[in-house]
Point group: C2
């Protein structure tokens, strides 16, 4: 039995299109309506057969939707909600997929009409690709989806959104928006910025050519380039909307790096060995938790 009768997806990039695919494939919701800002992307979604209904005007698809998921970059979530708020049906649930939650909650809350339920969500899953053509139905399998409902949230609505994401393959965690933003700052936002920074550093060298960087990237560099290929708009918005936690993590990272640099400068082999040892077990824990593959080199080289 379908959890809802109709879902409206506003924004149909990697995450939105993966939701559409899994919803269809596992018959989680009967009717999928899609809206997105650009006609070109909407046409691409139609060509991919992702939905049952397509409209460039988001307010035109939400009037009979039980669940509305805003899958746009963080910076425009509030505006999108404002534009559709008058058309939402009583009892509807509004959610999102943003990777920053406190700012999004603040953006959304003023526009939620009486009788409509707000349950923000963040599926912690993705790839470095963007656009509707790159989504896939198993993206959320065994990944965590974090819900950050406001304290006043309707319990039945939270339960329905949990069931929805479980049907999509996810495990559910519920936490406070501020804590979410700190947790994601270290598990996602800092690694992303560091990857961008690594690639930027290589790009700025005068004495090593970029063709050399490319040739010898299997020495480790290529790992960083995966995250650094991600959508710049999305990550700009993350930085603008989770500033405090990101600044804290960047500061901590820089402190640690200074300590490591000092150990290199002074040839302190013991300190370096200690730093390089304590980090070894966490990968095993991540593999055991089902969040990583159990093959060397992410499995990409082994034949």
């Amino acid at each position: 039995m379908a959890i809802f009768e109709k879902v409206a997806l506003i924004g149909i990039g990697l995450i939105g299109s993966s939701i559409a695919r899994v919803v269809r494939e596992r018959e989680i919701i009967n009717n999928i309506a899609i809206s997105t800002r650009s006609q070109e992307t909407l046409d691409a979604a139609r060509d991919l057969g992702l939905g049952d209904e397509y409209n460039i005007d988001a307010s035109a698809i939400v009037h009979d939707a039980d669940l509305v998921i805003i899958c746009t970059p963080i910076g425009v979530v509030g505006k999108v909600l404002q534009s559709i708020a008058g058309n939402l049906k009583p009892g509807a649930i509004v959610s999102d997929v943003s990777s920053v939650k406190a700012s999004v909650l603040e953006q959304m809350q003023p526009f939620i009409p009486d009788g409509v339920h707000l349950v923000p969500a963040h599926p912690v899953a993705g790839t470095e690709k963007s656009g509707p053509q790159h989504g896939f139905s198993t993206l959320f399998d065994n990944r965590w989806c974090i819900l950050t409902p406001p304290s006043s949230a309707d319990k039945a609505a939270v339960k329905l959104v949990s069931e929805f994401w479980q049907a999509c393959g996810s495990n559910i965690e519920i936490m406070d928006a501020d804590h979410h933003d700190r947790v994601l700052a270290i598990t996602s936002h800092l690694p992303q910025l560091v990857a961008y920074n690594m690639v930027g550093t290589a790009d700025d060298l005068e004495t090593v050519t970029s063709s050399e960087v490319i040739k010898y990237s299997a020495g480790g560099f290529r790992d960083s380039t995966r995250l650094a290929a991600s959508d710049p708009t999305m990550w700009r918005d993350v930085c603008l909307h989770n500033k405090d936690s990101i600044l804290e993590m960047l500061t901590r990272f820089s402190e640690e790096l200074s300590a490591m640099q000092k150990a290199v400068r002074w040839g302190d082999g013991e300190a370096l060995f200690e730093m390089f040892t304590r980090t070894r077990n966490i990968r095993r824990d991540i593999i055991d938790a089902g969040q990583e593959v159990d093959t060397p080199n992410f499995g990409r080289d082994q034949k």
Copy 2:
């Protein structure tokens, strides 16, 4: 036809054992002799059937070897060579697999007897695993092997070592040891230290638990943990032996990171967008160069 009659591998970790496997599988050299410092590792190599001859005493296996490859951590390469130098056969070639070259050249040159040829090599390939059980015969396929022969090197010996590595699947590049160390500092050593530092930063947090870091690591953090699972002894030695280039790269990286941090602090979306855009193409170039897989998430999630 085999390139050499006998190879002596001193050290039988990930790289040494991968050499043994590919040499056997592709019949590159007829006879494989193995020595390593610990009896336990030597027994493991014997159990894996990696060689034809095993001896804890390296000097006992080199007297009739045409090619001797020292596959130990960088810090002991000179000592190992010193211990076997008196037993090397005239015309033999001595090589290594170290990821730092200037220091290794300096360590080795004083101990090379007259009539023995030194051709240092660095196969730019590996995984985060260590030990003889983790090697595999295709590790070097389509990876670069960099030779850094001293200016006085015997041309015929350089040619033979090139042919050997090509037979192992590698492409050959010849460069100056100092330039090698700068190139690897950016393509391998800096990414490695940054990965260790990322995991170390997460380990030091008070307000985010390590179980949270593990749960939500699919947001990006898990990528860093691959390199951070590498052999601490090897990486300590790399830091001690490529100090100047590593310090330069760390300094450049920190400068870039400070600029990024400033852009986050001031909410400079334009600067962030520009930083996140220029890094996007390099991954495509690395994929086109055959140094990376052409699937999202390193192919680990897509089903």
